[in-house]
């Protein structure tokens, strides 16, 4: 059964005529070209396909588009604003929290939801909040560090993120005490 579905993704409205059994993951990747959202099992067992619906992380592989009409859907492509990356993205890039990078989009979405409700999380709070996202590369160490670095930056003066990236690419990451 095909159905007209209206989705609000990263602030943009999309009217789609799609089979009702296509999951949000499939619609994002195959209809909207938003391939930043990944998949590692399609059964809710890995967290790679995590997106935000009204700010809460959910798994797009287990979500029907028809059931999230009218709600705000955010994917990794919607994290940056006006081309300026989110502090989480910069911190993940700087601290090598993304190795192969495949779990990263889902990880970032869970982390974003965490920082939105807990601006300065403890390492254990980060681990609990991200426990639904598997990573096979990093041993999770740099991810915890990166979320906390982003939290500190978000609370302080953001500075110019672009300068931050340029510096990290050419001169090196400055790791703060207590990271």
């Amino acid at each position: 059964m095909k159905q007209l579905v209206s989705l609000q993704v990263n602030g943009e409205r999309h009217e789609l005529y799609v089979p009702v059994h296509k999951t949000l993951l499939e619609v994002l990747r195959e209809e909207l070209g938003l391939t930043g959202t990944k998949h590692g099992c399609e059964l809710g067992e890995c967290g790679a396909c995590t997106v935000l619906v009204d700010g809460e992380p959910i798994l797009s592989c287990l979500t029907l588009p028809v059931e999230v009409q009218g709600r705000d859907i955010t994917t990794v492509e919607g994290l940056a604003s006006q081309g300026v990356p989110h502090p989480l993205q910069v911190a993940f890039a700087e601290l090598n929290a993304a190795q192969c990078g495949y779990c990263t989009p889902g990880m970032l979405m869970s982390a974003k939801a965490l920082l939105d409700r807990t601006p300065d999380p403890s390492p254990d709070e980060v681990r609990e909040a991200l426990a639904g996202n598997l990573c096979r590369c990093t041993g999770y160490v740099k991810i915890v560090e990166a979320v906390r670095l982003a939290a500190r930056r978000q609370q302080g003066d953001l500075g110019t993120v672009v300068d931050e990236i340029e510096r990290a690419l050419n001169e090196g990451v400055v790791r703060e005490p207590g990271a």
Binding site: M1, E42, G44, G47, E56, P57, L59, C61, L62, V66
Partner: protein, 338 residues
Amino acid sequence: MLRLPPFDYYAAPSVEEAVAALRDHGPDAMVVAGGTDLFPKMKRRQMEPRLLVGLRGIRDLYGIRRLEAGGYRLGPMATLTQVSLHPELRAAYPGLTHAAGVVSSPQLRNAGTIGGNLCVDTRCTYYDQSYHWRKAINFCMKKDGEICWVAPGSPRCWAVSSSDTAPVFVALGARVRLVGPEGERVIPVGELYGRDGINFLAGKRPDEIITDILLPPAEGWESVYLKLRRRGSFDFPILGVAVALRRREDGTVAEARVVLGAVESYPVEVEEAAATLVGHRLEPDVIEAAAKACFKPARPLDNTDLTLYYRKKMVPVYVARALRRLAGLTDEAQRRTA
């Protein structure tokens, strides 16, 4: 990638219309709440409904509120996250909120519902597999086949009850309101469950919907839930221990219920264990006797994680730990139990 099979979707606007759709379509229809249990099973072709009746649009099915007569009413569409974080519930029914908070992963708890967790399908490593995998063993009696692979001589299916919250609801004496084409009725949560892995929701007719979960007043009741699983996230219980009890002022137990999860196709209430507790203080020998009473009724088989011998061995250990937690005994073992 694994995809869902085609189906039609009906966004039911009310309980009545949802029930009517279930009645009209019979076995071809299933309700979907959070979808976190149903969709993986559909992707593996364990369930192949032609029509999904979506409950998301039914306002009446949401919300958590205190009842005038005492106790709480949980809308079945309340998410596991909402239940686990609800401040009043956390104070009154800590065993329940803990159980809701340790279901699967944060993302699944954001989508998965409390009603859905009561109805979560029984699980088995011979059944929770893809179509091609199951074809390789010529299927099993729960779906498309003849035999129960974990107990080949058995006339029944031994898939495991895998709800974290069901044992706690049973221990708390919670009830559910079911609405069907013939009207509504209220039954204890324990009566939802059959004694077989296939017809595990025997107490609920297929065209009935859970509309309310009713918790009795918590006054005087304490509750705890301990979960055994390999990892702190994602995993279903391979043993759940729920204990609810009420103590007199002198510390002796007035009433108790001890319920085991994931050791049978239904939550197993161990009355003998409760009887051991009643009339006594939660002292080590009493705890040990109650724990021991839980050993025999637990019947784990080789159809989930870790060995069945190990899981059975852990039953009294976890029951004792649950009781020690209620008794306020903080020891090494408590520190090591999540």
